[in-house]
Amino acid sequence: MLRELLREDRIILDMKAKTKEEALRELVDVLDLSDDKKEILFKSLMQREVLGSTGIGKGIAIPHSRSIVVDNITLVVGVSREGVDFESLDGKPVHLFFMLIATPNDPSMKYLTALGAIARVSRSIAHEGEIKTDFSSPRELIDYILAHDHE
């Protein structure tokens, strides 16, 4: 499932963001969308954060939303070496972001299964302790993620 969603052109190896807003904007910016659509998507992601941070702890966050602006279920992965204050439950800065966007039409099963797969990989990465942040290429990051994807 994750293998199909991970794309080298939807990876940020060295995020500049320091805050939640900046991080979401930086992740959204990776997508080839008009400014109007980016704004709609950003607001939708922020709306979700109001219900409780998607920072799941141990340095990982999985911001997600359904949005009319994308044509297909879309995943962007970002790495922050410095870490971002994402208001996570454990208060730790976030180093690894998985942003998942589904269309309003994607079946719940597909969307939740993708989110579940991301949560599982995140737990597996977190379980190791320190999150790796020094990737030299998008491919290396994708391989790192897939290596933690044990179904």
Binding site: L51, I68, L112
Partner: protein, 117 residues
């Protein structure tokens, strides 16, 4: 309220509806492990209902259409991409174009159409 503004707000309502539906799905917490604050969901539902009342008052026909479509398809508004309805995937007749003074629906499935640049 202009039709354009109405459509924007209706679209916002759909966003709220999708979010509420998502976090209330029992599978959501089970699959993601994410906990959502009940009280904040209630706040969100209150905001949703306030917006819904405003839209019902401004244009009852369109609002009720939205609710009916939501029951039928799980959503009331869809985007037009390449002159195609993204709900039923029918190609739209050339005469179906965005208008500032009218809410446009798909001639095939009836869903409310939105064009985004």
């Amino acid at each position: 309220m202009s039709k354009r503004e109405y459509l924007r707000k209706l679209y916002l309502l759909q966003d709220l509806d999708l979010l509420i539906q998502q976090v209330k799905d029992p599978e959501y917490e089970a699959k993601t492990g994410l906990k959502v604050d009940e009280e904040r969901i209630r706040d969100l539902e209150n905001r949703r209902n306030e917006l819904a009342r405003e839209l019902l008052k401004a244009d009852p026909v369109t609002y009720q259409k939205y609710e009916m479509l939501k029951r039928r398809y799980g959503r009331g508004i869809t985007r037009v991409v390449n002159h195609m309805c993204t709900n039923c995937f029918a190609a739209l007749p050339a005469s179906v174009i965005p208008r500032d003074d009218e809410i446009i629906t798909c001639p095939n499935c009836g869903i409310i159409l939105i064009w985004l640049e």
